[in-house]
């Protein structure tokens, strides 16, 4: 049983680097030491994986943060069932490197491989296949959860309240010690990708509505900075895993290549802020010009799913003040909110690189799980433009009124009073938390800031 607790507090923040607070950190390497860590409960406890949530979800000011990355075992693959048992601290990067040569892949991957399985469950992450296959927790068959009231085994059919409160529950029900994941078989590590370009947002959205169902994976990138006549160009990429037959001879030796480590890194001497109005315009322009309309183009898996993982610590490009991510979801019939949001960002002239638009399939029963059927738009903004915070407050109002919500794994600034409007089933979450955490030990800066009830 080993768990090392740092004797001095460490400063922790999310990927957006906006709200650092200090806390003690323990890094247990097995289940009993996770439970042992939970005995020191004076200032609150929250688990942390790779720290890829953008805001303050995986930090607990003045308390204890349980670094789960020590729970890194990958169990044997069950080829008949298509499942694998893994530790909660295993990263999807390591898991993919293990699975791809064996002809298997995770059922859902977010835009980065550098997240832990526990973190993926806690944020109930989604990928480009959400419209077909739902979010990450849909493919979790069972898990072992270390809670303040002990080790509990849960599954969708065994203590489903706790299972679903944990899926999207931002770590507030305990530490995912291990999980059994459903996998998908793949023949190669290549993707067959169709790319289309659009100059108007409504063309893009109607194409996605009409034909996303023909593709397993679909995502659109749009230029929020906008053109002269209120038009917003976009690139829609859709595809599926390539079968053996699609791999040409020259690539046959590389048909099950695993994603590597980042080749580029941001130097620590990078100047103040490289992401600004000018650079975002230039990057958007370059990206748009570089992308061609293609049919069944072969792309490496990492380039398709995780384009930013090629740059180590790309978040440093935003400079010391950091950046804000904003992701909203609205019902299928409220595409107008997406159009309004894009127009509002363009007219406020706040730079946003990487606006990502996607259609969601049905959500999960998780009361705090983000994905819900309809549209989702993800944006990021460097901190600095004075109009940004009021702009996001106005977007929140529109989203809430439309029956939508914002993603807590990315949040760093939501008005607390909108939380129950966006997540009306907070009460169910509170009931489960009171059961597994009667003394209210589990808390994060996020849960305190938003007043997530218990």
């Amino acid at each position: 049983m080993t768990a090392t607790v740092d004797s001095s507090p460490r400063s922790l923040s999310g990927w957006g680097r906006t709200m650092p607070t200090t806390a003690l950190v323990s890094r247990p390497s097995d289940a009993p030491s996770v439970l042992a860590s939970m005995c020191d409960d004076s200032g609150g406890i929250i688990p942390r994986g790779m720290g890829r949530s953008y805001g303050d979800a995986a930090q607990c000011s003045g308390g204890l943060t349980i670094d789960a990355t020590g729970l890194g075992h990958i169990g044997a693959l069950d080829e008949t069932a298509g499942t694998v048992e893994v530790g909660g601290g295993v990263t999807l990067h390591d898991l993919m490197r293990h699975l791809i040569p064996l002809g298997w892949f995770v059922a859902v991957t977010p835009g980065t491989r550098y997240v832990t399985v526990g973190g993926a469950i806690a944020a109930d992450v989604h990928g480009k296949n959400h419209h077909q296959e739902g979010s990450f927790a849909r493919h979790v068959l069972e898990m072992t959860l270390a809670t303040p009231s002990g080790m509990l085994a849960v599954a969708p059919e065994r203590d489903s309240e706790l299972f679903w409160a944990t899926a999207g529950g931002m770590g507030l029900t305990g530490v995912v010690v291990s999980a059994v994941l459903r996998l998908i078989p793949i023949e190669t590590s290549w993707m067959q990708v169709d790319t289309q370009r659009f100059t108007r947002l409504e063309q893009l959205m109607s194409t996605m509505e009409r034909s996303d169902s023909r593709y397993r994976y679909s995502v659109a990138w749009l230029d929020c900075m906008g053109g002269r006549h209120g038009d917003h160009r976009s690139i829609l990429t859709r595809g599926d895993h390539a079968p053996h037959a699609a791999i040409p001879d020259r690539l046959s030796g590389r048909s099950r290549e695993v994603p590597g480590d980042p080749k580029l890194r941001v130097p620590h001497t990078a100047p103040g802020r490289l992401v600004n109005r000018l650079s975002v315009r230039a990057l958007n322009e370059a990206w748009f010009r570089a992308s061609r309309e293609t049919r069944s183009l072969l792309r490496p898996l990492a380039a398709f799913f995780h384009p930013l993982d090629g740059v180590h610590q790309w978040n440093l490009l935003y400079g010391p003040r950091g950046f804000v991510q904003y992701q909203l979801a609205v019902p299928p019939e409220r595409g107008d909110v997406i159009e309004d949001a894009v127009a509002a960002i363009a007219s406020a002239n706040v730079p946003s690189f990487l606006a990502v638009l996607k259609r969601f399939g049905p959500g999960t029963p998780g009361p705090l799980s983000f994905s819900q059927e309809g549209w989702t738009l993800a944006l990021d903004f460097p901190l600095g433009p004075p109009e940004l915070h009021a702009l996001l407050d106005r977007l929140d109002d529109k989203v809430a009124t439309a029956g939508g919500r914002v993603y807590l794994a990315k949040d760093s600034r939501l008005r607390p009073e909108l939380l129950p409007v966006m997540y009306p089933r907070l009460g169910e979450m509170a009931t489960v938390r009171r059961r597994v955490d009667p003394n209210g030990v589990l808390a994060s800066d996020l849960s305190r800031r938003l007043g997530i009830p218990r």
Partner: protein, 252 residues
């Protein structure tokens, strides 16, 4: 907790009836504020200040006497208890301008002036720093003054006490590096407040609202020393080098 834009949810003000502090709190609570604790010596004045904050979920008042340093620990503890959640920001706006010409003739008054402007707030900042350090985050904004930057004949009791609190703030700020707690030292020039009413304004005089907005901007930029107006940084950097005979002859 603070949000990504640095908006605090929970604020404690020592010297809650100070004009600058009231303007600052009004600016800060507009976005995310949900708890404000106002501490001061006069309950009636505190209640009046609290009425400005009618839209804030929780407003509490705490009475203390800044001439009594035995009071410090208890007062700070009361403020943190009244906040009922983590305190994101503490504004230390305790102070008294006094009357130089009469005070300097009465050693008792000098003691009181030093207590109110230096001893009490310095001790309070120590108590606050300990609590914020345990809490893992937080900010202290302390009101210093240009009067402490180079102390003058015309207000050297007040000025020397402010010089003390300014230096104390700097040292405390260094001692808190890496703790998640930040200290901001505010050096306003002549501010038209009830404290200075009846005195003729010095050059570069400003209103409390200007000081408040300068503070908000300085905090967002992460400045340890915030001058208000910003121009005074350069004016006083030059005045500090002025030879004594010339300095003595400056009006005011």
């Amino acid at each position: 907790m603070n949000d990504a834009f640095g908006h605090p949810q929970s604020i404690v003000v020592l010297g809650g009836t100070s004009d600058i502090a009231r303007e600052l709190v009004a600016l800060l609570v507009a976005d995310r504020g949900r708890s404000v604790v106002l501490a001061g010596r006069n309950q009636v004045a505190l209640q009046r200040a609290a009425q400005d904050l009618i839209h804030v979920e929780r407003v509490e008042t705490v009475v203390f006497d800044a001439e009594n340093p035995d009071d410090v620990d208890k007062t700070v503890a009361q403020c943190f208890e009244a906040a009922a959640e983590a305190v994101d920001l503490v504004i230390v706006a305790v102070g008294e301008l006094g009357s130089q010409t009469t005070d300097e003739l009465h050693p008792d008054r000098v003691v009181d002036m030093m207590t109110v402007n230096f001893t009490w707030p310095a001790a309070a900042m120590s108590a606050i720093a300990g609590r914020l350090r345990r809490q893992g985050h937080g900010r202290i904004i302390v009101l210093s003054s240009v009067a402490g930057f180079r102390v003058r004949r015309s207000n050297f009791i007040y000025g020397s006490a402010k010089a003390g609190i300014d230096g104390f703030g700097h040292g405390l700020s260094e001692s808190l590096r890496g703790s998640g707690v930040a200290v901001h030292i505010v050096r306003p020039g002549f501010v038209r407040t009830k404290m200075t009413s009846g005195r003729s304004p010095a050059p570069f005089a400003v209103d409390p609202s200007r000081v408040a907005s300068d503070i908000v901007r300085g905090v967002a930029r992460g400045q340890t020393v915030i001058w208000s107006p910003g121009l005074l940084r350069w004016v006083f950097s030059a005045l500090r080098l002025l030879p004594e005979p010339l300095w003595r002859r400056l009006p005011g």
